[in-house]
Structure formats: C-alpha cells, structure tokens
C-alpha cells in the first residue's frame, strides 16, 4: 500500500522558500511524475517525501500514518538516485542485498529475494560484478533492484535516466513503465523532461518556483493547461504564444496555438509568412515561420511537405484548439 498525502508542506533554506505550502494526494498504485524546470523544487519535494530533508512546516502521511518526522529508513520507501548511488565496494549481489541485511533478514531469505529481483531485471549473470564493471543501463537496473527487494510502499525516482544516452533512455523508460504495470506499486518520479512525464505518468504534477502549477493526467495538461506556464512547458515543440493585436481579436491577452494545430497551405490562409528554418524528419516537418504582424510561429506538419526556407506560405490555426489566457496568464474558458 502506498498512499501519500502532503498537506501544506513547506521547506525553506534560510530566508528562501524552496517549497511553499504544497498540498498533494498520491493514490496507491499511481505513477506520479513531478516535472518542472531546474530549480523548481521537484527534487527537494522528493527528498522531503523520502525523509532526507526536514520539512520546515506542514505534514505528511504515508498510508494514513503520520510520517512528517520519521527518519528515512522508517518510511518504507525506496529511492533510485540520479547517480544510482551504488556501493562501489560491493558486488551487485551485495548491493541488492544491502537493505535486506540492514533489515536483519537471514542469508537464505536474502539470497532468494536477490535471485528473484535479479531475474526480473535480467541481472542474474552480473551478480558477482562490481558496479564499476557495469554499463550505465545495468547500473540503473541494479539501483532499481536494490529498491525492489525492499517491497516498499512507494518507489521514488530522482531523474534516474538523465545520465543515460538517448537510445538507452527510451528503453529504460519503457522498462520502468512495465515494472510499474507488473508491481502496481506507487511510484513518484522526478524529471525535467516533459516527454518522460507525458509517456510514463498516470498523474503529472507541474512545479514551478516551489509551487504546484497544475496537477492532472498527461492529456488533461495537454488539452487544457491551466495557465501560461503549463501551456509553455507541456508539449514539444512548445506552444506558440501570441500577444498584442492578434490576441485581442480573440478577446484575450495571450493566444496559444500548438505547432501541430496549424495547417499549412499555398493560398487563402489565416496568416501569411516567410519560412525561416525548415527541418524535414520524414515523419514530420518543422518550420519556423516569420508571420506578418505577429512574429515567429513554429509549425509542425505530419509527413513530408515541400516547403523550403524562403518560401512564402499560408497558415491556418485550428480554431477549435486555440488556448486563450488573460492578463494574469490564467486560461480562459
């Protein structure tokens, strides 16, 4: 069981509030991703949940039990660190068995659990190696193995994929998702990469400057961002944000159009502009278009489109999928 409730959790270092009064419910079995730019407090929030930092005020319950002042070891949580934090002087076997040893488990039980975890993670052949002899992906698996054997109430991941190369990152991302499907244990996952957040999460928590900007499922955040920050942060390439006269036509301070919601045509479009940069990936095409009276607009089109830099093209935004924001940056309905 792993239901975690935060109420008015605040953390300050000296004068500075790193986390300012966060309320959050994490349901049992949920895959929750904390996402936000660097310095937004997402890692600190995770460390507060882990018990590696003290909360300045507020309280926290794990499975209905007061946990605000419990030491990390007593919270029943397991953590996978960004640097993996494997014990370099121990073999993989001993690394995975370490939490069991600390819990005073017998050698037989330890061996059984380690074998089971190694089997799940394809580490059986590497059990007698040291972390230094493993590849990045294997180290990552050992770190996960060390977390699994404890059968924790929840897993905490602190940017676990950021040290891997791009191809491996995709594979590991899928492995972690599959692990979640088979274990059905609560997972809290911190990342600055919105693609990871979108692909893995049941629930995304967007953080900015120590505050929660929005909580919701990936598609909720995509379709109805609550404010400009979330609109700009979720989605790739970023949503085009247009202010000024053009926005005023739609009765808003800022108008948001996702690049994929703009049609490209040769004649009779809504807007006209000159293509600055064009990128052709085969499956998609990306253009930076300098639109008359508006400025630069990013456009994404499916498949190949025979448009080159310097061409003059017409753009038509999908009027159904426009986002409108008021002067405070909040979304208008």
């Amino acid at each position: 069981m792993g239901k975690i409730t935060l109420s008015q959790v605040r953390k300050s270092f000296g004068e500075v509030d790193v986390i300012s009064g966060i309320d959050l419910d994490i349901e049992d079995g949920e895959f929750v991703v904390f996402v936000g730019p660097s310095g937004c407090g997402k890692s600190t929030l995770l460390r507060l949940i882990a018990g590696l930092e003290d909360t300045t005020s507020g309280s926290m319950q794990i499975d209905g039990q007061e946990a605000t002042h419990l030491p990390p070891a007593k919270r029943g949580l397991a953590m996978v660190f960004q640097s993996y934090a494997l014990y370099p002087h121990m073999t993989v076997r001993k690394n995975i068995a370490f939490p069991l040893k600390m819990a005073g488990m017998t050698a037989d039980e330890q061996a059984k659990k380690v074998a089971h975890a190694a089997n799940i993670l394809n580490l059986t052949d590497y059990l007698d190696r040291r972390p230094g002899q493993l590849s990045g992906g294997q180290r990552q698996r050992v770190a996960i193995g060390r977390a699994i054997v404890r059968e924790p109430a929840a897993f905490l991941f602190d940017e676990p994929l950021s040290n891997l190369d791009a191809a491996l990152r995709v594979t590991m991302r899928q492995e972690i998702s599959e692990l979640h499907q088979s274990l059905k244990t609560t997972m809290i996952y911190v990342t600055h990469d919105q693609v990871e957040a979108m692909t893995m999460a049941d629930k995304i928590v967007v953080l900015n400057a120590g505050r929660i900007e929005q909580v919701g499922s990936p598609l909720e955040l995509y379709h109805s961002p609550r404010n400009l920050f979330v609109a700009g942060f979720i989605g790739s390439p970023k949503m085009n944000l247009i202010s000024g006269a053009e926005a005023a036509k739609y009765n808003c301070a800022t108008l948001g159009v996702r690049p994929e919601h703009i049609g490209v045509g040769a004649g009779d479009g809504h807007w006209q502009g000159v293509v600055g940069l064009s990128e052709h990936l085969g499956s998609d095409s990306f253009f930076k278009v300098s639109v008359d009276g508006i400025g630069t607009i990013n456009v994404r089109a499916n498949g190949e489109l025979n448009v080159r830099a310097g061409d003059r093209i017409h753009l038509s935004p999908d009027l159904e999928k426009l986002h409108r924001f008021d002067a405070e940056g909040l979304a208008l309905k």
């Binding site: 270092f13 018990g51 590696l52 930092e53 003290d54 030491p71």
Partner: protein, 290 residues
C-alpha cells in the same frame, strides 16, 4: 542539506575531537598565562608572588628576543622557499618519462621518514663537522680550507638540514598535482604557440597553486616549532646566531630555570604564532575553498 537528526548526530560526533583539542589548547595555555605573571624560578624557590608584567618585559626586552623572532622567520621562510622551488623543479624532472621512476621516487621520499634528531646528528657530525665531516673532506680534496658550517653559518646550515627533511614532502605533493594536469591542456597551449617556459608559467604554475598552498600551510605548522634540530646542532649559537623563539623559551625554562619568564615567552610565542596563523589561514583558506 541535511535533516535535523543528522545535524545533531554530526554535532555529537564532532564534539569529542573538539573538546579534547580545546582542553589540550586551553589548560596549558591558562597555566602558562598564570606562571607568566608570577615570580617562578626553580633556582630561587623562595621568591614567589606576582611579578605583574615583569616577566614579559624581561623576555621581550632581552637582547636576544628581537633576533630570535627574526631568526624564526628566516628559518621558516628559508625552508619554505627552498622546498617549494626545488620541489617544483624535482617534480617536473620526475614527471618526465625516465627509467627507474619507481626507485627514484623511493630515494627522493626517503628523507621524509628520518626522525629529526637522527637527521640533525648525521648532518652535524658526518657532514658538517669541520675536521671529520664529508664536506671538510671534499674541501680538502679540492685544496680549500674546510668550512665550519655550524660555526660560521649556523642558521643557513640548520635551514639546509630542515629543508632536506621537508623537500620530499613538498616534491611528492607537487608531483601528484602535476600528474593531475591534463595533457590536453598543455597540448592546447602548445597549439596556441606557448613555449616551454610560457607553458610552465601560464598553465602549470596556476595549476600547482593549490598544492603550493597546502605545502606552505602544513610546513609552516611544523616549521614554527622547529627546536630539536637546533638543540642538537648549535645550541642556538654561536652567541644567539641561531636562536629561534622556541629555543629562547627553552633556554629560559630549562637552562636558566626561570619558569616565569619562559612562560611569558610562551605566551608571546603563542600570540605571534596566532598572528602568523591568522594571516596564513586568511590567505590560504580562500585558496582551499575552490
């Protein structure tokens, strides 16, 4: 970044060391202060009572005092300059690809393992002795008159002996620092047209700054207290030519049995050492932060 409980654990684990060192520092210092204000001469046990600052004026105004302070500084600075400069040169030399590097390192480090009284004794007797010493023999061989090193240049001779003991330490730290310099950095400088001397001056020396700092700090700590080498070789003489502050205090306490004045000298020495420490730590603490 840590939790309240780990902070209190840290305080708890730090306290034995801090308390022991505090006691070790404060108790003798307090006693020294107390003695320094009293008449306390082992030869005249009947003279007691407070002497106000008489001991201090006696110590500070004694003709040997000024010279002792200067000698102490010359000794410390002299050894530092020799060990750092030669240390850099030797480190540069050993860092080159050479045959038998392992043995060379062992030979170079060896003087560091020699206990100070042994070093002083063998240098004094077997090398610097004007009749039987090897230096005298070498002078004879060259047809020159032997030099009485400890008689004619006592402080310089002591500096030589102490520098010999500390040169390995400086060399090894500087060598380790030098080996941590990436060859890419040097190659980049070479591509930029820097010659050997410019590479040393603009790339290697700045890279060694931290190591030099550490060498200066640690050696100063040990050199300020140099005493045994002087006792064994020159007894502070001839006259007071090689009397340093520690030796002067020793002379008051154990040769003139004037504990009161020696204590006053101790307090003065502690104050001076703290002044040196203060400036050294200021200058160096900054360099060690990076």
């Amino acid at each position: 970044m840590a939790t309240q409980s780990s902070r209190s654990a840290a305080r708890l684990m730090l306290s034995p060391t801090v308390i022991l060192l505090l006691v070790w520092m404060i108790v003798p210092l307090a006693m020294t202060l107390w003695f320094s204000l009293k008449r306390y001469n082992l030869l005249y046990p009947d003279r007691t009572g407070f002497n106000d600052f008489g001991n201090y004026t006696r110590f500070v105004l004694s003709p040997a005092f000024g010279g002792a302070v200067v000698n102490t500084l010359i000794l410390v600075v002299g050894v530092l300059v020799i060990t750092v400069v030669l240390g850099i040169l030797i480190a540069l030399l050993i860092d080159q690809p050479i045959w038998g590097q392992g043995i060379v390192r062992i030979l170079v480090i060896s003087p560091f393992f020699i206990m100070p009284p042994v070093a002083a004794l063998i240098w004094k007797n077997m090398f610097m002795n004007p009749t039987n010493g090897l230096f005298a023999e070498a002078a004879k061989l060259l047809g020159m008159a032997p030099i009485d090193f400890l008689g004619q240049a006592p402080l310089a001779s002591i500096i030589l002996i102490v520098a010999w003991q500390w040169l390995p330490f400086a060399t090894l730290i500087l060598l380790t620092a030098l080996q941590s310099l990436s060859s890419e950095e040097l190659e980049a400088a070479e591509m930029d047209g820097a010659g050997a001397i410019q590479r040393f001056w603009y790339i290697m020396l700045p890279h060694l700054a931290r190591a030099i700092t550490v060498v200066v700090l640690i050696q100063t700590i040990f050199l300020l207290g140099i005493f045994g080498e002087i006792l064994v070789t020159t007894n502070g003489g001839p006259g007071t030519a090689s009397t340093t502050l520690p030796y002067l205090i020793y002379k008051e306490a154990l040769l003139d049995f004037d504990v009161g004045t020696a204590a006053a000298g101790g307090v003065v020495a502690v104050i001076l050492a703290n002044i040196v420490a203060f400036f050294l730590m200021r200058a160096i603490g900054k360099n060690l932060d990076a």
